[in-house]
């Protein structure tokens, strides 16, 4: 289980935004992506997750080892907290949602409809989903949006537990999670300068 990114370039809307990114992530390691708005953090995460193809270079990791958590939580408003989690657990072939509820302090809310949750509670539900995927590599895009300080600490604890269990995480975030062991990768030096050949075609792809 190792995530290896080799000379990766990725594009958004047909324009290459980042290029020449190489790094590796071993079990137990976390990496924090930094950079100003629009630098391409989300694009990089979506490329690594396989949701969009890279322009050049490659991502190598064992199949079925990624869990992606984007800006949207994938929470259905008309299902309860437990039903939402049970669904994602079933999709990933797991049964027990207890630890995930406990980790994000959702046990008391388990029978509440997700539509009645506050934004922070929704986010906690979205993050608890990561635990029921059973996947080792977490790709997190601004995971702490709308979380209060207590919930951020809760999330950091969950993340540490994941890392201690041999997991890895790639996190795009602006705030300090208190993960001192995490490596930091500033994306600013990787902003694409040249317009690669074929960019014209790419716009029509």
């Amino acid at each position: 289980m190792e995530l290896r990114i080799d000379n990766l370039a990725c594009a958004r809307g047909g324009v290459t935004v980042l290029e020449g990114i190489s790094f590796g992530l071993s079990p137990g390691q976390a990496m924090v992506l930094r950079g100003p708005n629009g630098v391409g953090k989300t694009t990089l995460l979506r490329t690594v997750s396989g949701l969009q193809p890279g322009v050049a270079g490659g991502v190598s990791l064992p199949p079925e080892s990624l869990a992606y958590a984007g800006h949207a939580d994938g929470v259905k408003a008309t299902l309860t907290v437990a039903e939402n989690l049970n669904f994602w657990a079933a999709v990933h072939g797991l049964r027990d949602i207890g630890p995930a509820l406990l980790a994000m302090n959702l046990t008391a809310l388990r029978d509440r409809r997700a539509g009645n949750l506050s934004a922070g509670q929704r986010r906690r539900l979205g993050l608890a989903r990561l635990m029921v995927t059973g996947r080792p590599v977490w790709l997190l895009d601004e995971p702490t949006v709308s979380l209060d300080a207590g919930s951020v600490a809760l999330f950091a604890t969950m993340l540490r537990g994941h890392l201690a269990g041999g997991g890895a995480a790639l996190i795009a975030t602006h705030i300090d999670l208190g993960l001192h062991e995490a490596q930091v990768l500033d994306l600013t030096p990787f902003i694409a300068r040249s317009t690669p050949e074929g960019a014209f075609d790419e716009a029509f792809a």
């Binding site: 997750s49 396989g50 949701l51 969009q52 193809p53 079925e64 990624l66 869990a67 992606y68 958590a69 984007g70 800006h71 949207a72 939580d73 994938g74 929470v75 259905k76 408003a77 008309t78 299902l79 039903e83 669904f87 994602w88 079933a90 999709v91 990933h92 072939g93 989903r129 995927t133």
Partner: protein, 218 residues
Amino acid sequence: MRALFLRDLTLAVRAGGGFGLGLAFFLLVAVLVPLGVGPDAATLGRIAPGVLWVGALLACLLSLDRLFALDFEDGSLDLLATAPLPLEGVVMAKALAHWVVTGLPLVLAAPVLGVVLNLAPGGYLWLVVSLLVGTPALSVIGAFGAALTVGLKRGGLLMSLLVLPMYVPTLIFGAEVVRRGAGGLDFGGALVFLGAITLGALALLPFAAAAAIRVNLR
């Protein structure tokens, strides 16, 4: 796949609007047409197969634009695309759920509405059979159309335009089965074609729909 199918059924029942929307529309069409055409029983009986099939087809279309759009908006589609479930399976599960929620109620309600439209007695059995065979194709073809337009705001209009031509063969052969069945003619050929379209759509379109979703998620 089973989990996704069950979740979609639960969502359809809970959301209120999804379940029964198509059925209500079908009911309206079948009740309003006799009022518009007039009480001449012979005329009604002649147009009944066509009206019932057109009504079923439009009722199916009504709920299709939400098939993937809701999952796209709340991020579920991204997560499903990275889940162990193949996207083709996602399409199949969602199309099946759509059929159970929309197509199956139409099949069950059609004989009652056949009475309203004065359908010939011989036609009832074949109305149910033809809808049972034909409506799965409507759901799968519609899923393909919904997949093509998933990222678009207000994609419903474009989806209708894309999907309607693909619905035409099902409509022609479906209504033909009922017409011939009602008239006591041989309908074997039309029924076979109807079944072939459904099987072909079931076999091919989930792959096309999954490819369309992958492109739209980029």
